[in-house]
Amino acid sequence: MPETQPLVTLKKKDFQTDNDVRWCPGCGDYAILATVQKYLATTGKKKEDFVFVSGIGCAARFPYYMNTYGFHTIHGRAPSIATGLKVAKPELDVWIISGDGDSLSIGGNHLLHILRRNLNVVILLFNNQIYGLTKGQYSPSSEQGKVTKSTPRGSIDHPVNPAAFALGAGASFYARTIDTHAKHMLEVLKAAHEHEGTALVEILQNCVVFNNAAFDDYASRTTRDERAVFCQPGQPLGFAKGERALDFRKGRFKAVAHEDATYVHEPSNAAAAYALAQLRYPVADAVPMGVLYQEQRATYDGLFVQDTKDAKSAGKEPTLHNLLHRGDVWEVK
């Protein structure tokens, strides 16, 4: 979202609405909301230029709490609605808010296509590895064997890996962050927002009611120092308080002593990003956070606008008369 505009000074609270926030007490969504509001206030952009488009789910309630334009659409379809919106008004700053069910179950096809088209929007995927709104069924990102209301003997579905899926779909930007880590989230939001093209941000989000502590092994305040890798371009992929790091060897990341790691993070390396995406705790010792992949590529809306310009400069003058009088016209007197 590059275009620079006259700077506006707004505060976090300018982005809050009067609505009672209706998530469960303790839900990770609160922190995300606060961080997004805080971030927007730093952008210098005007409230009216932001549009939050969401599907259905707990996460998808988000637009109601943002004092911007907002569209709470139907389950899974936010990307297509956002596409129409951006095509009609490319200058808007559009954010899509979605959950793991919304994006990876019913909305999987639209996520695929928005990513490959590279529409210039930010997508926040609140991944709590559960269907929250419908009260606790396993979701496509739930781990195999998960016992939920709909799987009393444990689920048998191999999970979708949101990062790998995004990369395979041709995402030009994928990052991962954590609901409880406001500082990191702010950083990631900034990188995503500044990216030209579809910036998919997976936020590990705690559903306190139906899937509490799902990420605690590697993303909690205490464990992340040990087991999360906060990727930085040009830096080794260190973790465990700088003692260890991931090294890239023959297409696979292995944990080594920090000083032995030769690989530095290169967000444009597709295969490396894909290999990073495979790392899941506890199979892997550490889980990567931050911008795993970023590539510069023309955006759909950019090409669309260009196409319109080209067509306008090539086409006959667009008058009603010319519209009607095409082809063989004859006159009857």
Binding site: I81, G84, H110, L324, W330
Partner: protein, 616 residues
């Protein structure tokens, strides 16, 4: 021009061209149509694609047909049965000869009547010598391949290329037969093949050879002339339904001053709407070929939310997939036009055939009470008016509108009198930029439309969505009475569209006992059947509905005035069902679900039967 044949003047001719899918019959048909239209005839066409994939050469399944009716008077349909059949191979002959009018002319490419081809369609020997057929029809076999080869002898073309230009030979012959202006056709060939000079030259040669053949061979006793029809003064173009529809949409966008975005996923027989629209980008009308049917309407809704006119085009199975999203558009009250070009159902059904069986789906195919305006186009040219009207209502009332077309209307063509630009109704748009006192579900007193506030407008930030909303503020509301009120007002708004609708036009013998009622693409057949019935003194009136929801004012009184009301439609009685429920009138149904349009005489026979029984 010296000619060896008499020139006979006739009022109307129905020609059917039939050949393999690869034989170029659609192109030939379209060219002859254009020439006839340019000569001032009234014309009506009916292309009949065989199946969805090009079948192996020479099989019955691979036959592609094109029927053209041209006349010196007003005509309404492509005609029940052809006067002339052009058959390019045994399959085409076999499939179509039964439809030819007794005594009709069959021009046959004899070169294709070889063993192999005959066997493919189950002929033991060539039917061209069959005495029974020869008694019934005037069969003229011509060795077209030889003719074409001769014409292209020294052009250095491959056998395949030579074979492919047969259709221009046939076109030349038909030009001679009906005295069409050959120069214009030659010019057209030049333009069409501007980049492939070689083909331009060869096709012109072949065309002229066909023309000369008619002139010199003594196979035809006479050639024919159909005078120009005495039509209303004005400028005319020949136009196909889907083209007219897109023109209507673009005209409405242009008139409104707004951009238009068509979200579409290709589907027969609606795809040409996407194709045609993709050429109007310079009018600010753009297309997004979406990843699926749901995304297509999603794009359109998003565009409307962003202040453009969102449109999507589809056919029955696609409409089925859009139901949920249509409900969203209904509840958020954004303007949207959904075009449904109907085809044979249920399920994948008969995808290249015509039918009218999506009407109840259009009315009721979504969850909850979510009424929408539904209107239908009655003929190819009428698609312009219907599309324009759909946009006008959608923006004025801030509502999705469903526009029904069908395969017959979409692919058929007829001369279209270009509308008077001055007389095109204004497109009213409710865009609001004034924040003072804005409430999301505040409504216009007359239309009950809410304001259209486009994201980016300062000071009017608000949220919309599929959950029920407070009837004023637009905040989510679970208040029981509010929900009732919102359901009521949304329905009332849609019913209020009736204020835009003229009382239905009644045609024919208004004082008789019988009224035939139709909607959509059956217009021509019903109108002609009405005329024919009245010629027989049967006293029949015809009423054709533009609007299905809401119904036109005074329809109640009209229906009740007639003892016999016969609702004719290409489904199992869907409009009849609606009329019965709405007006409690015991209307009768005449239906046909064969993937084919009505024949005039079928309708006439039904009228006769009805009157017979009701008089008995």
């Amino acid at each position: 021009m010296g000619t060896n044949a008499n020139v006979k003047s006739v009022e109307r001719v129905v020609v059917r061209l039939a050949g393999d899918s690869g034989d170029g019959m659609q192109l030939t048909g379209n060219e002859l149509t254009r020439a006839s239209a340019l000569a001032g005839n009234d014309v009506a066409t009916f292309p009949d694609y065989p199946a969805e994939i090009r079948a192996p050469a020479g099989t019955l399944a691979g036959v592609s047909g094109f029927q053209l009716h041209f006349a010196s008077q007003d005509i309404f349909t492509p005609g029940d049965e052809p006067d002339v059949l052009v058959a390019m191979n045994p399959a085409a002959f076999k499939k179509n000869i039964g439809d030819l009018k007794p005594g009709g002319l069959a021009i046959v490419n004899q070169s294709a009547f070889i063993k192999n081809n005959l066997r493919k369609v189950g002929y033991d020997e060539s039917p061209l010598e069959d005495p029974v057929l020869n008694e019934r029809f005037r069969i003229v076999p011509i060795e077209m391949n030889a003719q074409v080869e001769r014409a292209l002898e020294n052009e250095g073309l491959s056998t395949k290329e030579i074979g492919r230009s047969k259709n221009f030979w046939a076109l030349g012959l038909l030009y001679w037969l009906y005295g069409r202006n050959a120069d214009k056709q030659l010019k057209w060939i030049d333009e069409k093949f501007a980049n492939k000079k070689k083909f331009a030259e060869s096709n012109k040669k072949v065309f002229l050879a066909g023309h000369a053949f008619g002139e010199t061979a003594e196979l035809f006793g006479e050639s024919y002339r159909v005078e120009a029809a005495t039509t209303d003064p004005g400028h005319y173009r020949n136009i196909m339904g889907n083209q007219a529809l897109v023109t209507g949409l673009v005209a409405a966008a242009q008139k409104s001053g707004l951009e238009m975005v068509l979200g579409s996923y290709p589907i027969t027989p609606a795809s040409d709407i996407l194709h045609a629209m993709s050429r109007f980008r310079h009018y600010g009308c753009s297309t997004v070929q979406a990843e699926d049917e749901i995304a297509a309407i999603g794009v359109a809704i998003g565009a409307s939310y962003g202040g453009a006119i969102g449109v999507c085009s589809t056919s029955g199975p696609g409409l089925a997939l859009k139901g949920e999203a249509l409900g969203l558009a209904h509840i958020v009250e954004l303007p949207l036009v959904v075009v449904n070009v109907q085809r044979g159902g249920p399920s994948t059904g008969l995808p290249t055939k015509t039918e009218q069986s999506d009407l109840l789906q259009a009315l009721f195919g979504r969850n909850g009470d979510a009424p929408l305006p539904v209107l239908a186009a009655k003929s190819p040219a009428d698609c312009f008016d219907a599309a324009y009207e759909a946009v006008r209502i959608a923006t004025k009332y801030m509502t999705p509108v469903i526009l029904m077309s069908d395969g017959y209307v979409a692919n058929g063509s007829e001369p279209w009198r270009l509308p008077d630009l001055q007389k095109l109704k204004a497109i009213e748009v409710n865009v609001r930029v004034e924040p003072e006192g804005y409430e999301v579900y505040q409504r216009d007193e007359t239309t009950l439309a809410r304001d259209w506030v486009i994201p980016g407008t300062p000071g009017m930030e608000h949220r919309v969505g599929g959950l029920e909303k407070d009837s004023l503020s637009g905040e989510v509301s679970y208040v029981p009475e509010n929900h009732a009120e919102m359901c009521r007002v949304r329905a009332e708004k849609v019913r209020g569209v009736q204020a835009e609708i003229d009382a239905p036009e009644l045609y024919g013998d208004l004082d008789g006992d019988t009224l035939i009622v139709g909607w959509g693409g059956t217009f021509g057949a019903l109108r002609q059947a009405c005329d024919d019935a009245n010629e027989e003194g049967l006293g029949v009136a015809h009423c054709h509905l533009r609007w299905i929801h809401p119904f036109a004012p005074q329809l109640d009184a009209i229906l009740k005035r007639y003892r016999n009301v016969l609702v004719c439609e290409l489904n199992s009685g869907q409009l009849a069902f609606l009329l019965r429920a709405t007006f409690l009138k015991d209307v009768k149904s005449f239906t046909k679900v064969e993937g084919q349009p009505f024949r005039i005489r079928e309708v006439l026979a039904e009228i006769q039967k009805l009157q017979g029984s009701s008089n008995a």
